[in-house]
């Protein structure tokens, strides 16, 4: 579980790492810790999955990926984990989830976001997913976003008091 020092480190790095030669030392200086302690804790959070990865996140559109589709599929429940794992491994899929159906209007339970530079790219990607799913694809749709109505970062204000974490 996270303790108060972890949460301070999360808070200090949520907006990003300082772009200076010794970024972990810079964070440590701000928090009154040693660089070793910051690095040890970041590595531990990476190992436990609290940090998905450390690295760069590009803006899809600025890299020329203007075609972003949410593909949705109706997959038999007893096959979805096996097939979901395979779809997630395709190199153009950025998110892949099993989500609940809402019958009758929403029969889809597998969601995969795909990204291409042209409509033809995305069409090819969708066909590749359909081929992989084969007979287990009982229906599908693609929802393209037409407008971003709101986009803010996830401001996951981490609770700083250690008592909060032990109480949950």
């Amino acid at each position: 579980m996270l303790d108060a020092i972890d949460r301070k480190i999360i808070e200090a790095t949520q907006a990003g790492l300082p772009l200076t030669p010794e970024p972990y030392q810079a964070i440590a200086d701000d928090l009154g810790l040693t660089a070793d302690e910051v690095m040890t804790r970041l590595s531990a959070m990476q190992a436990s999955g609290i940090i998905r990865r450390i690295g760069a996140v590009p803006n899809h559109y600025k890299l020329g990926y203007g075609y972003n589709g949410m593909t949705v599929w109706d997959i038999p429940d007893d096959r979805i984990d096996e097939l979901g794992r395979q779809v997630g491994q395709l190199e153009f899929v950025s998110h892949c989830y099993h989500r609940p159906r809402h019958l009758p209007d929403w029969p889809y339970n597998l969601f995969a976001m795909v990204h291409g530079k042209t409509q033809a790219d995305v069409d090819r990607q969708i066909k590749q997913i359909a081929d992989l799913l084969g007979d287990c694809n009982r229906g599908s749709d693609v929802l393209y976003s037409t407008k971003i109505l709101k986009k803010t970062g996830f401001r996951s204000r981490p609770r700083s008091a250690p008592s909060d974490t032990t109480g949950s």
Partner: protein, 147 residues
């Protein structure tokens, strides 16, 4: 954006070392100087080609809660519904999509109970049914968008 920018973006999507001088380590693999790498990264951040550079945290692992939800907003009330939904600070993203379920948004809160409360408040204020689609399972992805 030139070829070096692209090499930097491609190299840094895969991960970043945790060590005393991580930029120096990365710069060696790219055959450039540490100073050049830092200048390039500052520019890529400043002009928005990189939206973030650093640790990507998993909100749910930190005790937070997330869900994806959708509504069928009638065309003549679309803007009004968007305004109501966007006014919730718990709504992190909201996208218009081509479907009868035409408005899709992500709710991010500190506890699962707050997700339920937000959905109930949106249903009450809009008069619409919110289709709640929390993830049952997340499948590992390995995406790198080639720059």
């Amino acid at each position: 954006m030139d070829n070096l920018d692209k090499r930097i973006i491609n190299a840094l999507q895969g991960g970043f070392p945790v060590c005393d001088a991580p930029f120096r380590q990365v710069s060696l693999t790219l055959n450039i100087t540490e100073a050049e790498l830092l200048i390039r990264l500052r520019n890529l951040r400043a002009n928005g080609i990189l939206t973030r550079f650093g640790p990507l945290y998993n909100a749910e692992q930190m005790g937070g809660a997330l869900t994806l939800a959708a509504v069928k907003a009638p065309e003549d009330r679309f803007d009004e519904i968007a305004d109501i939904i966007n006014a919730f600070p718990e709504v992190a993203h909201n996208y218009a999509r081509q479907h009868t379920l035409n408005m899709w948004f992500v709710i991010a809160t500190e506890t699962p109970g707050q997700v339920r409360q937000t959905i109930e408040a949106i249903e009450e204020q809009t008069g619409l049914t919110v289709y709640n689609m929390p993830k049952i399972k997340e499948y590992f992805v390995n995406l790198k968008l080639e720059a």
